[in-house]
Symmetry: C2
Subunit: 229 residues, 2 copies
């Protein structure tokens, strides 16, 4: 339900796979908490709300956790994605092989001008006219939008029409489904790189200002309880 909660689940799952590869059979809420940066109590509470059983003395069984988390996170089936807009970002994603390790596969690309795309990825690229057909025949549910900002909203509509229910949007516009017949189940995540950079600049700048201030006041403030990142 909650964003942070699901994020933690995904982190647990990833960590557990790594631990399994290292030969771990059991883990403690302590270990997991340390690794993903939360308190052990929260780990236990998370597992508790998901009814993930632990062993009162021996911690949690890695295989059990992985199995159940995979089911909860939907990794028991293959996860297929299509990319719409095969420009710089789009092709970078299609050429990227790292998604496989997470059970994610980019199965097709779509572009308004597929003939212009220099395709070295092995992923087939189709024209936009093939979108509906492909999505429906292959029962694809998730798409990445990597078209110019001005096109993003139109593309969103087409994707929803085609039956896509989850969208990762790279265009720097806050996409929302505003149609009257918008399926309530549609989820849109916006990845706004410029926003992230701005956020960074803000923090860096304000940190700097703070330090300058500290110097200016002669370092007399030794009681600033700010040890967090």
């Amino acid at each position: 339900m909650n964003k942070d909660f699901i994020l933690r689940l995904t982190k647990y799952k990833r960590l557990l796979y790594k631990l399994k590869a290292l030969g771990f059979e059991r883990v403690f809420s302590n270990n997991l908490g340390d690794a993903i940066g939360v308190t052990p109590a929260l780990v236990r509470k998370d597992f508790s709300t998901l009814s993930l059983p632990g062993n009162k003395r021996g911690g949690y069984n890695v295989d059990t956790l992985i199995e159940k988390l995979d089911k909860i996170l939907g990794r028991d089936r293959a996860q297929h994605v299509v990319v719409v807009g095969c420009g710089r970002i789009g092709t970078a994603l299609m050429e990227y092989s790292g998604f496989n390790t997470d059970g994610i596969e980019i199965v097709a690309g779509f572009d308004a001008h597929p003939e212009n795309v220099h395709n070295t990825s092995g992923v087939p690229i189709y024209g936009m006219d093939k979108l509906n057909e492909y999505v429906q025949e292959n029962d694809t549910k998730v798409a990445i939008i990597a078209v110019p900002d001005s096109e993003a909203s139109k593309v969103l509509d087409r994707l929803i029409d085609a039956g896509i229910r989850g969208i990762l949007n790279f265009a720097p516009v806050e996409l929302k489904c505003t149609r009257n017949d918008c399926p309530g189940s549609t989820t849109i995540h916006n990845v706004n790189i410029a926003l992230e950079l701005e956020h960074l600049f803000y923090q860096v700048n304000s940190q700097e200002a703070e330090e300058e201030e500290k110097h200016a006041t002669g370092e007399e403030t030794g009681a600033h309880p700010d040890g967090n990142t």
Copy 2:
């Protein structure tokens, strides 16, 4: 201070620029709230905590807001970034011109093998040996990490040594500054695309399961108060 808070500020600012371009002179907390998806009360409270003054009847003055937000968010000076790792993602970012509109400029790229990079971006690309010199001479504070996962941690160390204080990391590892002499002011943001996709899959899958369940129980649940995204 708070992540969501700063994110909202940035969103306000962006929206305000767009509104200004449209000829707006005043806005109401209502408008802003609708546009960025929060309640008008929160908008007012945000502005209140920043001492951004509004007009008791005529809302907020767009120019004033922009000016003050720009100052708070540090946009009164030019914002320079360097990219480390000029592969697919790295070059996509360097070739991208959209950052300019937000006052952000990618000023240089660095790569372990600059001779292999096909550079069409106009941004100069240097070897890693030039990193320290460049960052110090140009007083660069923010960098993007786009190197392979296995290199990310090493690169992080080098960046911090060079004087970088804000980092946007695209490698799918949760980078943390774990050194003993890590400057407390260093900020790291991780953009994990695979994580985002997994999150989407989770939501889509669970939505689907929910709907199936609803159908199975004969649609007798008309009282599910879930109208949010």
